[in-house]
Symmetry: C2
Subunit: 421 residues, 2 copies
Amino acid sequence: MGASSNAFYAQSGGVTAVINASACGVLETARQHPAKIGKVFAGRDGIIGALTEDLIDTSAESDAAIAALRHTPSGAFGSCRYKLKGLKENKAQYERLIDVFRAHDIRYFFYNGGGDSADTCHKVSQLSDHMGFPIQAIHIPKTVDNDLPITDTCPGFGSVAKYIAISTREASYDVRSMSRTSTKVFVIEVMGRHAGWIAAAGGLASDANNDIPVVILFPEVEFNQERFLARVKANVEKYDYCSVVVSEGARWPDGKFLAEQGTRDAFGHAQLGGAAPVVANMIKDALGYKYHWAVADYLQRSARHIASKTDVEQAYALGKAAVEMAVAGENAIMPTIVRTSDEPYTWEIGKAALDEVANVEKKMPVEFISEDGYGITDSCRRYLSPLISGEDYPPYENGLPVYVTLKNKAVEKKLKTKFKI
Amino acid sequence: MGASSNAFYAQSGGVTAVINASACGVLETARQHPAKIGKVFAGRDGIIGALTEDLIDTSAESDAAIAALRHTPSGAFGSCRYKLKGLKENKAQYERLIDVFRAHDIRYFFYNGGGDSADTCHKVSQLSDHMGFPIQAIHIPKTVDNDLPITDTCPGFGSVAKYIAISTREASYDVRSMSRTSTKVFVIEVMGRHAGWIAAAGGLASDANNDIPVVILFPEVEFNQERFLARVKANVEKYDYCSVVVSEGARWPDGKFLAEQGTRDAFGHAQLGGAAPVVANMIKDALGYKYHWAVADYLQRSARHIASKTDVEQAYALGKAAVEMAVAGENAIMPTIVRTSDEPYTWEIGKAALDEVANVEKKMPVEFISEDGYGITDSCRRYLSPLISGEDYPPYENGLPVYVTLKNKAVEKKLKTKFKI
């Protein structure tokens, strides 16, 4: 080991509009600490890149390319859905990691992901204790699901929330214009299989200056068809239109997703066709209203063009903090966002022990959902509003955002063995 | 009739991100011609507002509110889908219009819409000749379908095209990151039942600096399942992922929409579930690739947050020109966009006679579609690229765009009779 060692950085799970901003924070900060950190090797496609010794030499990228990561959505090095087993169940995986880390003089491990990734990172952080290999593992939070514990929010969520709030407002203005002779109900389906964080953001479309009837279908609230239809009907009678935000995780009382509601294709195969068309057809059948529906899907999490400035800044700051914590000798932790005030909104970086983060899912507080189950409360607004605050536009050329695609130059392999994923 | 007469303005058909920018152009320009134009009365919900004497007094709106229309999506006065019958078939409609116009001293008629609306406007323009009522009718083009003749483009289209190009690029970056262990195909469904103008815009996602495999399914090209699947497979084998842009107007050889492909709900009812899930499931069944799909629907046409600056400027300029032409004594015309150069892009305002516009649909040129039927040609890029050029961000507050909702104060009714719609 020389005066400095190398670092490993990888992206994991579903990507977001701002995970590359965290990568930018890691890489720019690492370049400021040459005495401690040599090169940063990125894993191609997450931890798979480490296991297969498929490393990317980020030192081959220009400062300008690294800086452009801040405004580029998606995962610049590729991501993966791959969870390490426990040390006991699959020791070979950990031995392989140690072989790769040793071969490339890697002593810092930065993993950028959600709950499963925090678990992986936690396991890597134990290599030092359990297998005698000196490594510092720091987890960098990222997830549009906003379900990591301890941190006030997770990078990626604020930008999705902003996109859904804006889109719901814009489409509501549209349907309001059309309702006299045409569409009366607009349904938008949003992500969040387990929790209604993203669906809640649709509620921000309506405020003191925008009296928009928005009905939200949360995963946390058992779907009651009769009550729901009555609510939509009441809105249409009052406003002549209604917007519905349905979470992909909305469920029937028997636990089935609305999206599973018996839709079959021409061959009789069950199709998961989305909750939005199911809800829209239900309204049409029962109430006769003309509808339109949208499924935002990847558009919502990749919409860097309208990312939240707060979110971008926090994503960057967490990447930066991860490196600074590593340089200060920390291991087995995750930098967090600590909210110090709602209004004016202020925040600072804190930290959490990985054993308190891994496998803990943060639920949306019940007091964020209005009593009738279809809206958000003031406390929810106070929580969400600062997270979507500010715009951080990417540069444009010919009408399109200029996003960077890195060279992703492979590091020469040093091991003779292959590892099967 | 005093020194000045009043004007009528209404919005018709599907609204867009920029139709209010045309309204802004009309209203601001009319306020500059008090010697000719007294008040501008807007029709509540399009022509229906004229027929039912449901007029809005725009003079009750502040200059600031009118100015804010420029950055507010949707139709501020409400729109309608309502086509006037011919003079012979329903003379009562025209007599009613004349009654209303006379009662409110309306001598200028501005109608802001697409092909059907141009036909309505054309009929109104004939009231002078056929029924002896002096009125000048000017049509202001608007349609995301981009299918009006003579004008180089239609306000509303450029912003949808920009939204689809950006969204396709962003989601493609996303799926590219995920393809190693997860999603390999992303399908986005776009508007355009009769023509592939909007679908073509998805092709702009890929360019010299963004080598993205995009397969476009145009309404103009008969769907060939085998060839399509082979194309997706080839892309995934080369790039490890593929993006598909499917027009809602894509059809099977027998003329059926892909979206109609036999999907049935739990009760056996046929469901129009969207073309995107049909295409996505087809890929999964035949090739086994994991997919994601999105249906942009109203989000694409209401996305004022990422409107094309060119589009906003042209929408405003056409509203302004309509008033100037009216003041100059014109009747039965539509101001148009005349492209004077591709690069650098330059344009000016022209005009077209309404009898050459009404009921004529502009098709997308076949030479805009690549030979294999799945992409766009260079001539298509040259046409589209300037239309999505430039950004024109609305103001924001608390992370959300500040859109205006007008007071829409009703004009006191003067007629004693009602008119049934």
